[in-house]
Amino acid sequence: MQRIFYLMKKEFKQILREKLFISLIFLAPLGQIIILGFAITTDVRNLNLAVVDADHSSMSARLIESLSATESFNLVCILDSEKEALREMDNGKIKLAVVIPKQFERDLKNGRQPQVQAIIDGVDGNSAGIAMAYIGQISRKLQQEWMQKTGVSNALNQDLRLVEIETRMWYNPSLESVNNIVPGIIAVLVMMITAFLTGMTIVREKENGTLEQLMVTPITSMELMLGKVLPLVIVGFILFNVGILGAGIVFGLWMKGNLFSLYLMAIVFMLSTLGLGIFASTVSQTQQQAMFIAWFFMIVALLLSGFFIPIENMPDWVQALTYLNPVRYFMVIIREIYLKGTELLYLWKEALAMLAFGLATIISAAVRFQKRMS
């Protein structure tokens, strides 16, 4: 216990004295939040869609056909009521529902404006915004087609809006993709800094020969590992809060959910990232190597996390792979808690999966570390 205390104390001093580490901890997060937050947009494919058809007319059928013909949407089911659609959305089965009202065809033919409603799960603000634009396009095209058929003169074309898209946004009213990206960035930050610093601070002792000096002291490799990793848990935690504050101040995006739930999940998440750092240190001789190895794994994990590319847009076999990726689960958790205020209770599956992968990562890295030391 005493040894771990002295190790931690020493570690903090060293981290605070190293300019590189300090800038990694404080400048990298803010820079990333700002740059990525403003720059990232993504494409939408295979968004799960349900249509509520209350009209059952040839025109409603035509609308459904057009919606399912595009690659952007994946028509999951046709339902009878809006209520059912909302339930499916809450269950996560669909991201988007299009409601065609009764008398849709009659209203259209009579030149009245039927209200077609689109309901979008706005948690993934990026996809939601783009999906809306697509629906708008499709409906405009149909509008033209129908106007020619019903013989409404082209002169009136401009003024008549036969199909009105009314969007009822859930959870993310502003629809800015920033809202979706920013919690993701906070996750990325915690991941990068903890994995990098763990790898680098351990390998630095190898490079400087201090590790050899430590190995002739009665310190056990378990104590050594804890003494190395615990300070970084605290650093990661501080960083996490810097990220939360940054998101609030720069983008006005404050968390909807429970802060302590998110803290708890962040710590579970760090099991994997610290494990990655420890692993990198066991296969590297220099700090650069450790950084590179950690970097490589992080990029793969990020690509498969749904951060840049929505998981629905990936080929099936890649989607299957993402289930092995702890970052995937944290992305869901942090977005849900941040944007929807979802309670932890409803995220138990993700939390459990993340815990399992986190433990597996850190335990196997620790075992490897132990072996290398003795």
């Binding site: 020969g209 201090t210 430590l214």
Partner: protein, 253 residues
């Protein structure tokens, strides 16, 4: 120098046919010797002769491939944890934390060796007096001259008051005055009954050792008092002895 009395005659280090192979390469080949308590035992040899490898095995940092060795009565294969409590080790590479101050280094190593806060404070005061480092107590270690660093490294390796001290080229790169000061420290420790195991490339330092072993290509080719070796090789000084031995082999130097 061979007139200097060895204080205590129990063997602190016993090595029998110790061997270390890295793959097909034999770095330490079947070496045997005994070192008594209070003895200053020198390890000489060209670069790559196997000195560091031998020391690392004795410190419990490296598993031998074959042979036997005990340090302070503990077996290097099974009781290396106990060995660690009884030895001090200064590795060939300077290994205090350069980005910690002198005081912080002492505090850290003291804490790691299980000293209480009070003991750490006392040791710090003592070492600052002893090394005359009060003016630099709160300077970063990297700002000190190498000679001071080495004396400090030795002092930190002694915080837990070990009986056996392994020093791997403690004076390489150090100016002559500092080297002399360092050896005065070594003598003082031997006077206290501590066993010193030291490697060096300086032949004048070799003369200060009670006994010398000279390694070549992993083998110990000579092991005796400096005076005896000089007579045997009909040499003026250790430099000549060393050159005659090293030329005899296919060593890299």
């Amino acid at each position: 120098m061979e007139t200097v009395k060895i204080k205590n005659n129990s063997h602190s280090v016993i090595v029998e046919a110790l061997t270390k192979k890295f793959g097909g390469f034999t770095a330490v080949n079947n070496i045997s010797f005994r070192v008594s308590g209070g003895e200053i035992f020198g390890f000489l040899g060209a670069n790559g002769a196997g000195k560091t490898t031998a020391i690392r095995m004795l410190c419990g940092l490296l598993m031998p491939t074959s042979g036997q060795a005990t340090v302070a009565g503990f077996d290097v294969y099974t009781e290396y944890e106990k060995i660690k409590m009884n030895i001090g080790y200064m590795s060939q590479k300077f290994s205090l934390y350069e980005d910690l101050t002198v005081r912080e280094n002492i505090e850290f190593y003291g804490g790691v060796y299980g000293l209480s806060r009070k003991e750490i404070r006392e040791k710090t005061d003592y070492l600052m007096d002893y090394l005359k480092l009060w003016d630099h107590a709160d300077d970063l270690t990297k700002s000190l001259p190498l000679g001071w660093k080495q004396r400090m490294a030795l002092s930190t390796a002694l915080l837990h008051d070990p009986d056996i001290i392994f020093l791997d080229e403690p004076t390489s790169g150090v100016d002559p005055v500092s080297r002399r000061n360092f050896w005065l420290l070594i003598y003082e420790l031997a006077e206290q009954g501590k066993t010193i195991f030291v490697t060096t490339h300086f032949m004048d330092e070799a003369e200060y050792c009670h006994r010398l072993s000279i390694m070549r290509d992993g083998l110990i080719v000579e092991l005796d008092k400096p005076g005896v070796l000089k007579k045997k090789y009909n040499a003026e000084n250790m430099q000549d002895v060393f050159m005659k031995i090293v030329r005899g082999g296919k060593g890299q130097d």
